[in-house]
Amino acid sequence: MSFTATKFATSPLPLNFTTPRSNDKPLSFSFDHSRLNPSSSFLGSTRKLLRFSAPTRASSSSSSPVAAVLLQPTSNLLITKEEGLELYEDMILGRFFEDKCAEMYYRGKMFGFVHLYNGQEAVSTGFIKLLKKEDYVVSTYRDHVHALSKGVSSRAVMSELFGKATGCCRGQGGSMHMFSREHNLLGGFAFIGEGIPVATGAAFSSKYRREVLNEADADQVTLAFFGDGTCNNGQFYECLNMAALWKLPIVFVVENNLWAIGMSHIRATSDPQIWKKGPAFGMPGVHVDGMDVLKVREVAKEAIERARRGEGPTLVECETYRFRGHSLADPDELRDPAEKEHYAGRDPITALKKHLIENNLGSEQELKAIEKKIDEILEDAVEFADKSPLPPRSQLLENVFADSKGFGIGPDGRYRCEDPKFTEGTAHV
């Protein structure tokens, strides 16, 4: 399986859509988005797996700017029992963790903006579980579950959310800033789009290691996660360009949950099909049902391998949905109850469970056992976080500078970080 155009028979664009690039036709300004898929308010079809790829240079004379094909959803979704259960466990962990967060937030154990991932688990699990430990993940403010999928312990994430010294960032990051050097999680980035350049830089590092430092084993892949709202931000376009230009080993993963807080994707974006922006930059753009972990995994596998082989970036649009408001502070008044119900019916965890049982990849008992195990892990995590110490005052000035000479030379001629009070956290700098 590959995203290159040659492997697929080109067929006409399946969508009833006026392509601005086909200059022979006048532009239609009466384009009605809702006619695209009347049965769903979501633009792309969730029942079909669309796959598009960048035109090769040789076929650039083709009249269609992108080669498009429809894949049968049953093409190659085989998994072993072991893999199936691993996916299930990771998704359950993500879901239960976030539910626990909501509980703890309302109990006054954590504060600030807490953005929960419920409903989108298939994307995190489908992509990140395919990574090696050396691979990089760059996330957004909705980053708890990406961290968990990458291997950061529930204890460390929960403790961070509790603002404790044992948190993965010593309580200095919080919900939107999860980092783990050990797991190469390069962070949660709280502002829209700012993580994409950082991810591009990590991918540049991999290329640099291989080509300048001659480290033959430097084949790390970087995954950049972001949402539909980010795809209207300049950093997204700037980085698509650079990543494609230098063939960086990166996958741009769009978690299109249709809503940027209260701004509907359709109201915000002139052409709501985000995957189409890939071919515009000379990289494959792929559209996948983000509520189906097996389909996500299939696409992710090829995109990651492609990056690892040095064939460059891929843009993957995962059509998904968040089951909760934007954050726990969001009253979530704008989304149509019917729309929420529709996606609740497409719960990725329920779907995987059904698939596993129907295909004899796991019994009801086995799945129950996994859920029980996760429950226990989370109970332990909450207990650990609760019992952990608050950051001491001495921690306040640590980590402002990697080299604390950055605090400068004081009136006494010594570096101010040499002040004995400095490590006590009582130094005035």
Binding site: Y136, V138, G167, C168, C169, R170, G171, Q172, G173, H177, F179, S180, R181, L186, G187, F189, A190, F191, E194, I196, P197, V198, A199, T200, G201, A202, A203, F204, S205, S206, Y208, R209, E211, V212, L213, G234, Q235, E238, C239, N241, M242, L245, E398, N399, V400, F401, A402, D403, K405, G406, F407, G408, I409, G410, P411, D412, G413, R414, Y415, R416
Partner: protein
């Protein structure tokens, strides 16, 4: 090409009153047409001597400013038999960069036109040929994205030097510099370091217009986790460049468009300066003048006049804009009890304002007079030469301020 002649501004003051030159026969009027300027490359030494080298190279015609700067025990740098080598400021920056790239293969450069073009002010000239396109990366015009890319590369083990073609362009990367460069080490609980250098030409040039004549120190100074240094001579430019690259902290290195053609003899052997130390330019007794970057030369012009009038000012180039070297500054305050700050930064919320606060907080008891701070005006830098000149502090103002301060 205009950039080549930016150096003229330092010693070609078009104000007529109280200029610090003894003789006018070599004075190049700033109104001179560009075609006349193209006759040769003007070289300004860091001790404010001027020399003009004809492009033909057939005749080396040196014009020295006698006693333009009254340095105590100042030595002549004209002799070629002395040890060290003579180079221009932009060449010193390049030399520092090149040495560090040779020393550490993780040091790389990225920015607009840094590679094949050699940098807008030629600081990276020839480096792409020597080190390859990946180590000296020409980026698309996407400041926010390539600065962020530098940060991502720094987090994952490289030591990038990001050039803003003009410092002002980095306003487009402000989010990356502030949120990611400045805060990531902290928010990650110390897990990720960002050993990046962000550098480029800034300051008020010669009629470059408002957007290209920015004083950005004030914008960047309150970002936590970032160090800022400003170079002013070929010697300190090279030493600070090397120190900035070796620092584990993100460092913003300010260069000034008018100083790239300063010439100075610097040591042949390797040296690295401290990022946190101020530089004593001229020891004195009567008043402490704190300055940095291009204003150092306006101060030194004024100092000459002041010396002739019987004053003995102490001139310190603070160099480290964040953090301040309170030791050197404090010792000077304790000696002179009077402080004049001369900066090109904005009056409101600028470096001078912070410096004033720091001195008041730490050395108030030693002050015999209120601190005087001469900053540039809070206006978008005007295009017209006359207006531009009134925007930044001129030597005459410095002389007046010292006279008042020492009354």
């Amino acid at each position: 090409m205009a950039t080549l002649f930016q150096g003229l501004g330092i010693v070609t003051p078009s104000f007529s009153s109280s200029n610090s030159f003894d003789s006018n026969n070599f004075l190049i009027p700033s109104r001179r047409s560009l075609s006349e300027r193209r006759d040769g490359i003007f070289v300004v030494r860091s001790d404010a001597r001027v020399s003009q080298t004809l492009k033909t190279g057939a005749r080396k015609h040196e014009l020295l400013v006698p006693n333009a700067v009254a340095t105590k025990g100042g030595s002549s740098v004209a002799s070629t038999s002395k040890p060290g080598h003579e180079l221009l400021l932009f060449e010193a920056l390049r030399e520092g960069l090149e040495e560090e790239m040779e020393r550490d293969p993780c040091v790389c450069v990225m920015g607009e036109d840094v590679g094949h073009y050699g940098g807008s002010y030629k600081v990276t000239k020839g480096l792409a040929t020597k080190f390859g396109d990946l180590r000296v990366l020409d980026t698309p015009i996407a400041e926010n994205a390539f600065t962020g890319m530098g940060i991502g590369a720094a987090m994952t083990g490289l030591r990038p030097v990001v050039e803003g073609m003009n410092m002002g362009f980095l306003l487009l990367a402000f989010n990356q510099i502030s949120n990611n460069c400045g805060m990531l080490h902290y928010t990650s609980g110390g897990q990720f370091k960002i050993p990046i250098v962000i550098r480029g030409p800034g300051g008020v040039g010669r009629q470059l217009g408002a957007e290209h004549s920015q004083r950005l120190e004030s914008y960047f100074q309150s970002i936590p986790g970032i160090q800022m240094v400003a170079c002013s001579t070929p010697y300190n430019a090279k030493g600070l460049m090397k120190a900035a690259i070796r620092s584990e902290n993100p460092v913003i290195l300010f260069e000034h468009v008018l100083l790239y053609n300063l010439k100075e003899r610097i040591p042949d052997e390797e040296y690295v300066l401290s990022l946190e130390e101020a530089e004593m330019v001229r020891p004195g007794e009567h008043v402490t003048i704190l300055t940095y970057s291009r204003m150092r030369y306006h101060v030194m012009q004024a100092a000459k006049t002041l010396v002739n009038k019987g004053y003995d000012p102490e001139v310190i180039d603070i160099r480290s804009l964040k953090p301040f070297d309170l030791y050197t500054i404090g010792n000077s305050v304790k000696k002179t009890h009077r402080v004049l700050i001369v900066e090109e930064c904005m009056r409101t919320g600028g470096i001078g304002a912070s410096l004033t606060a720091a001195i008041t907080e730490n050395f108030h008891d030693y002050l015999d007079a209120p601190i005087v701070c001469l900053s540039s005006q809070d206006v978008p830098t005007p295009y017209a030469g006359t207006l531009e000149e009134w925007t930044v502090v001129q030597p005459a103002q410095i002389v007046t301020a010292v006279e008042q301060l020492c009354q």
